[in-house]
Amino acid sequence: MAVSEPIAVAPVGAAERLEQTWRQPPGFWGWFKNTHHTAIGVRFMVTSFIFLILGGILAALMRFQLSRPENNLMGPDFYNQTFSMHGSTMIFLFAVPMMFQGFGVYVVPLMCGARNIAFPRLNAFSFYIYVGGGLLLWIGYLLNTGVDTGWFSYVTLSGPQFSPGKRVDFWAQMITFTEVSALGVAICIATTILRHRAPGMTLNRMPILLWEKLTISMAVIFAMPAVMVVSSMLLMDRTVGTHFFNPAEGGDVLLYQHLFWFFGHPEVYIIFLPGTAIVSTTVAVFARRHIFGYVPIVVSVVATGFLGFSVWVHHMFATGIPQISESFFTAASLMIVVPTAVQFYCWVTTIWRGKLQMKLPMLWIYGFFFVFLIGGLSGVMLASVPVDWQVHDTFFVVAHFHYVLIGGALFPMFAGLYFWIPKMMGRMMDDMLGKVHFWLFFVGFNLTFFTMHFLGLHGMPRRVYTYLPEMHWGTLNALSTSGVALMSLGVIVFIVNFFQSRASGELAGDNPWAAGSLDWATPSPPPSYNFLEPPTVNGREALWEALPNQPIVGGLRDDVREVLITHSLDAEPEYKEEDPGPSIWPFITSIVVGIVFVESIFTPWAIAWGAAPVGAALIAWMWPKGSRPLRRRVEEKWSV
């Protein structure tokens, strides 16, 4: 499109009018009506961080129970509920909501230079339904109805005969809640990335973080249905007497494992890729150099997304599947190392050729390098079938995936928080406390989890609530437990740091890190309309490569919530969409849906009679309300 000669921009009062137009509704009910992505993103982060702390408390409980042989701090029933809750909470209520939904919803629209996320109401709905799932699981736990069959809930143990009561049903419905949430956000983020990019941000100028979020969204869209299917099958087996997993009636116990891991392994990359996204972003910023190997990295990311779907059987090597398929899945599991290796090499070259500035986020990124690599390499051991036969389902595996998930998600998460919190709250985090936090956490983490490798090699199985003194596991377990204190202390320091900095940290300004992506081209915290002048883009690092007189987007109305939709490939402006604005209906719908889901645990018929109110709520949601349709009828401009 044509770009005008330089003219005076930002007419007087534009900011005020935009503020008025995009105002986030105030007051108690306003909180539930708000659909702006910055607000929802922060909510996702805060909520999932709370679940991180809850899950951590459960972990501490388990470590204390295991700190010495034949310990009777808790019995098997409570211990089983505790470790199952720990796994389910960390995976379903913390890792994905924080790494994918939280950072994605907050950062992606800003990085695209958009004024809001696509389908903001669906986005808000996804948040409420996620909170609903979390509360369902945790209220159940507090009422002695916590899932006690592990976060994977293999049949037949989780089936109707061996898990009486409603514990597993609560878990299965929590899955549905959280996956609906992840799927909704995936649609929003993918659409935002494809259609809301600033003019000029063609596909090959997209920041790597956007590529990763796009890949993850697609992975979510293809992986999450599997777990919804399998948890629904389990629920039907338990409530209406279907026979999917009943060996005596043609059901099959391996079907469950296949479906579950068809979701379960991509899930690992859904958690890990956001981490690498943060790494690629911050490495470039703190090495003061464009990331080296943009194309290889993007290709690796997409390849990881695909390969993630081809390795699920390596969770089932011990089930006695044919050797030929074992070899195939070993090959696939080893192959998936390559894309990650490519990224590591690109990062190290970027740092090598840059001028590293060891700010707080970079400290955590280095923690990521040291820690995640151990997990990755022990993963190579696990991919080798015979070794897996030995260490599968032992504490070696526990050590492995904590190095992968804490290393690949939690360390980058803290890096990302130290990196973006200045943008979110406008003040810098305290450097000293940040370092204390890092070292406490780093040492504590390795103390806790490195010892577990040895425990596994010496035969300690997972998910045991105690062990016999004769097994010689006591010392290492005591050592492992001692690390928990340091980690917890570190997290407490972080929380203190957060509130202290929020009160009196130094002001951040627009771009404290002199970073290159568009999220730093607006005040911190961003106004409700994100950008006073929607930007255009001239390179991969928009701000570093901006022309001296980089054009801005003009002609979007400031009295209507107009957003610019561009072409998915070349980001040419295509049409002007109108942001639907605040609405209470996502919240009401999520409440209705939640009630129906919960009721269906007790009477399957709830699905039948519950469909009516849900349908009603959805129709009310989409029904044209207020005067805006009438105005639009007059003003709308058709393209045919």
């Binding site: 116990v253 011990a318 006695g320 390559v338 080798s384 015979p386 389902d393 998910r463």
Partner: protein, 335 residues
């Protein structure tokens, strides 16, 4: 590779008889060798990569408080870096391929036993939370049924036919071989050959409910002669006790809850709910290798098993003291 074992062992706490190191069978030794091979590859890789990152960070490190200007693009440097990354990736792929080949070879070695002729066949059935062990035989009266303690002859191939009575368990004797899941509705064959005589502990490795932690078993490898002897003894039904207290104990056994769950061949007790007690006294431990087979432990187990293994299917039996002693005396006679 040889010197490696001791070095690493020094890092570790005494394994006891329950570890994937110090393998007692061909299979375990193959797997251990593969493990150390991959371990040292990974070790080298880790050192190299971490060294590279540390050097890269230290190289141009600047403690400036503010952010420095962005470095300009540099084509020549990009080309050199490209060569570096390319080479590194090729090396990575070759290493992974090597690992893959070694994996497949070792896998074949481990499973090679499956071809051997007339092995010792043992059915192992997982129960919540104990192992039923059957040495099948065409003649029913020659079939041996026991629990939790698996006697095998040294130097002969053994095949375990796994099965499960309730939920998924996993059969894992670390010193002898990897693990194999016991899946309801599936039966799979699990081969190994023990070379060193000894008692090797194993444990359930797939979460199977309340007492998953206390679901152990032992593999007792002995010379073929001892094994044959043991087998002959096991096929015999229980003899009638001679001394009066044992006889009274038998009465108590047959008139109380015991008879509802346990079998003692040669008596009216024939329920298969719990372990077969016909030769209980010949076992070294009870309660799925949780307690030693002593008077005191047995007494505690009979009276209040739910304190020792909460949730176990064994019910508390508040017998009168003399009844209890009589029953134990009787059980001791079941050689």
């Amino acid at each position: 590779m040889i010197g490696v074992g001791p070095i690493a062992a020094a890092l570790l706490i005494d394994p006891g008889a329950h570890s994937m190191f110090g393998g007692a069978s061909t299979q375990a030794s193959h797997i251990e060798w593969l493990y150390w091979l991959i371990f040292w590859i990974c070790f080298v890789v880790y050192v190299l990569v971490i060294a590279a990152f540390t050097r890269a960070g230290a190289r141009n490190y600047r403690g400036d408080p503010g952010m420095l200007p962005v470095l300009p693009k540099d084509e020549a440097g990009d080309r050199r870096a490209g060569w570096f990354v390319g080479t590194a990736v090729v090396v990575t792929i070759l290493t992974l391929f090597f690992v893959l080949v070694e994996t497949v070879i070792t896998g074949k070695k481990v499973e090679s036993a499956t071809t051997s002729k007339n092995p010792v066949t043992i059915n192992v059935i997982g129960h919540q939370w104990w192992w039923e062990v059957i040495y099948p035989n065409p003649q029913a009266d020659q079939t041996v049924t026991t629990a939790n303690e698996i006697h095998v002859p040294v130097g002969k191939p053994v095949v375990i036919l796994t099965n499960s009575a309730d939920v998924i368990h996993s059969f894992w004797p670390p010193n002898i071989n990897g693990k194999r899941d016991l899946l309801p509705g599936y039966s799979s064959a699990f081969w190994f050959q023990v070379d060193k005589p000894g008692i090797y502990r194993g444990q359930c490795a797939e979460f199977c409910g309340l007492q998953h932690a206390h679901m152990g078993f032992s593999i007792i490898a002995e010379s073929p002669e001892q094994f044959a002897q043991w087998q002959q003894n096991q096929v015999k039904p229980a003899g009638d006790p001679t001394d009066p207290e044992a006889q009274r104990g038998k009465q108590v056994f047959l008139t109380h809850a015991c008879i509802m769950c346990h079998t003692v061949r040669g008596t009216d007790a024939g329920s298969r709910f719990g372990p077969d007690l016909t030769h209980l006294a010949s076992r070294q431990m009870i309660a799925a290798e949780t307690l030693p087979n002593t008077r005191g432990a047995v007494a505690g187990w009979i009276v209040d098993p739910q304190r020792i293994k909460p949730g176990t299917q064994m019910s508390p039996n508040p017998l009168a003291p003399d009844d209890l002693q009589a029953v134990i005396t009787y059980l001791q006679t079941l050689q």
